[in-house]
Point group: C3
Amino acid sequence: MADKNKKVIQWDRRNILDLKDLSKEEIDLVLETAKSFKEVSKRDVKKVPTLRGKSVVTLFFEPSTRTRASFELAAKRLSADTINIAASQSSISKGETILDTARNLEAMNVDLIIVRHGCAGVPDELAKHLKGSVVNAGDGCRAHPTQALLDMFTIQERFGKIEGLHVGIVGDILHSRVARSNIWGLKKLGAKVTLCGPPTLMPIGIEQMGVDVSYDLNEVIEKVDVLMLLRLQRERQKDNFLPSLREYAKYFGVNKKKLSKAKKDLVIMHPGPTNRGLELSSEIADGDNSLILDQVTNGVAVRMAILYLLLGTKT
Amino acid sequence: MADKNKKVIQWDRRNILDLKDLSKEEIDLVLETAKSFKEVSKRDVKKVPTLRGKSVVTLFFEPSTRTRASFELAAKRLSADTINIAASQSSISKGETILDTARNLEAMNVDLIIVRHGCAGVPDELAKHLKGSVVNAGDGCRAHPTQALLDMFTIQERFGKIEGLHVGIVGDILHSRVARSNIWGLKKLGAKVTLCGPPTLMPIGIEQMGVDVSYDLNEVIEKVDVLMLLRLQRERQKDNFLPSLREYAKYFGVNKKKLSKAKKDLVIMHPGPTNRGLELSSEIADGDNSLILDQVTNGVAVRMAILYLLLGTKT
Amino acid sequence: MADKNKKVIQWDRRNILDLKDLSKEEIDLVLETAKSFKEVSKRDVKKVPTLRGKSVVTLFFEPSTRTRASFELAAKRLSADTINIAASQSSISKGETILDTARNLEAMNVDLIIVRHGCAGVPDELAKHLKGSVVNAGDGCRAHPTQALLDMFTIQERFGKIEGLHVGIVGDILHSRVARSNIWGLKKLGAKVTLCGPPTLMPIGIEQMGVDVSYDLNEVIEKVDVLMLLRLQRERQKDNFLPSLREYAKYFGVNKKKLSKAKKDLVIMHPGPTNRGLELSSEIADGDNSLILDQVTNGVAVRMAILYLLLGTKT
């Protein structure tokens, strides 16, 4: 499994909290490592003994089917033992701090905690006080580093590179941890990033992250190599960020007609779950240019790589 | 484990959706294969490496403890990795189609999805679009093929045959996927089937499936070899199908007195969970003629056989 | 793994229901066995094949993250297959008795059921009718034997003995299964036990268990070697057992000032989850005298020992 000697030298990170912290070299290493793990999931026997006897806990304070399943499959294919804890944010109010919860898991000699929480910074707070590893599976509107890594893996797989590509990220940038993590990662790897969405969903001053901003999807479509669509969280609509879903779909939804002026090899990405008819038409979601299911496939490989780098190279 | 060469030749089915589709030979093969797997669960080490490295997902849109546990044990005893997803039907309304959910699981290289859903036809719809295998663990009022297979296994185990036996199915036929799947299977294997229940719970025209219908349990009891009682779902009582539970128990509940005119070797079956005092008295549920717990035991063996036939013979 | 021959001879218990039933020798054997298993969780590969092919079910009728995780980790580190069932007490009212649920699991050839239930006696009722093993993970206000065993293991680890020590148990004794199990266990091993708490939360006649009772924490603190604090279940406060949480914290909460007259090597224990600021201050919870996280660590070892003794020595 990969060139161990080389990797042990380069990787000394204990947690994956935010791509802001990772160097270009570290990101490259994750992507390279994921390549060899992608092959494992294609085998008849999708299992390697790499993390046998390691205990991995998913600690999800927000419901998630797909991300939890992706991590759980990744851990199981590496032969780790997995424990799922679906915690309600309200249980915290019963008196125990989240730190106590995590310390308890550590006291049980858990090697790695995969945490998702509605509040930004919770994974870092855990990591600060724990000896084991922490992987951020999404915290508030801040970071979702494994999603961005699998997105970059998917782009690199298709184009053979990331440097010099132009990526458009479309939708509710304001609330998107996926957007933030992708911006950090893509910029480090040399891509140009243009954000696009309604003004009410565009964070003020976001240009300081080194990105362009546009409010005109048609203009963006003509220029980019990758169009990364964000999930519109309908439950937020009550906050009046949008006049209507229909209007959102009209201006920021992607359909075949809008793509007529795009580059031939433009690819469409979406972190899922998609709202068909809203962020994109079914035609586009299921079309030749869509990498949406590749992203899901690569998610398992990238998460296997991360678990391996965090746990498998220790002795 | 069984005579592989023989079986690989006969079995080329990718899914188990409805016994309506299976041939007599295929059903026979499942029952025969289950025999060898039944022995595994009696061992001290209840585990064979048959499906090592396979990923099996239970995707349940209706709550179920026992069916899910039975499938999960079956998969684990075959050394497959299992992931449980308890989906609420409401989550589908959040924008993602069930097909997207399934495609995502397939993109994660899941080998087999065990699905239960309140709507008839959902497993078929999944199977139509997926490359992996689908097992129907109950869809609406339509089919519950693994339940019927374990029922037939249990009958065959007791009587040494199914052909020529007379099976009475008693209760809420209208809403019963268990009844429908048993009718398909039992008729294919040459049993005579008589349905019995209140007229309001008997589907109009059901005789076209090749069964007899009776509204008099006493009359049925005298003739049959097997009395298969259906669970009465109390939550349906509000729909006024029944005058009262008490009346149901009086006319269609089985107790010792009613069995006085039955054949000596009559057996009582029930898919569980039982309503003691309603469909049957405790005396009968726990009596010598009851095969209820055998059904549960055989459920694991039959499900192991199905997982093996769908996944284990591929190369 | 330990001296098997010796142990097979001594241990012939099928269930762990209540420490009331265990002899001093049996408790000693659990504690001694746990020592060798504690080492497993410190290894790089935290896994031994002891219970390979055994099926262990957690059947929890009360929500619990930490106890379930502790048992699940224990089972997985022994290579058992685990199935989690989170049952709602209300589902029982749907017609199936808890005994039917358990019999069904046994019919699936489950080797051991770990049960938690709000009603005292449920685990015993299950054990009476089942051939497999039952471990009580807490029943009502009556018993929580694995918690008491891990508490005793932790005390013995620190002091090298239990006999002759003086243990103070502080808090809501009335509702505490942890207190009851510890009293049974500690008395059998020769400790002196003093209970302390508000009069409204002290069971009448509890002295008959061979313990002292005090209503003055300061007085108790001066005398004891171990101070075992119980979780105050805030949800009970509506029953008016306490004037206010603030008053409870004032009289029965432990802080640095109150410990000034304590023995130098006094240790603080708590079954968790703690209510910081109520039963104890953060300073004390995280202080040098606190064994709270040791208890958690030892919980896995003790549960491994119990699973091993109940299942691993059979042939």
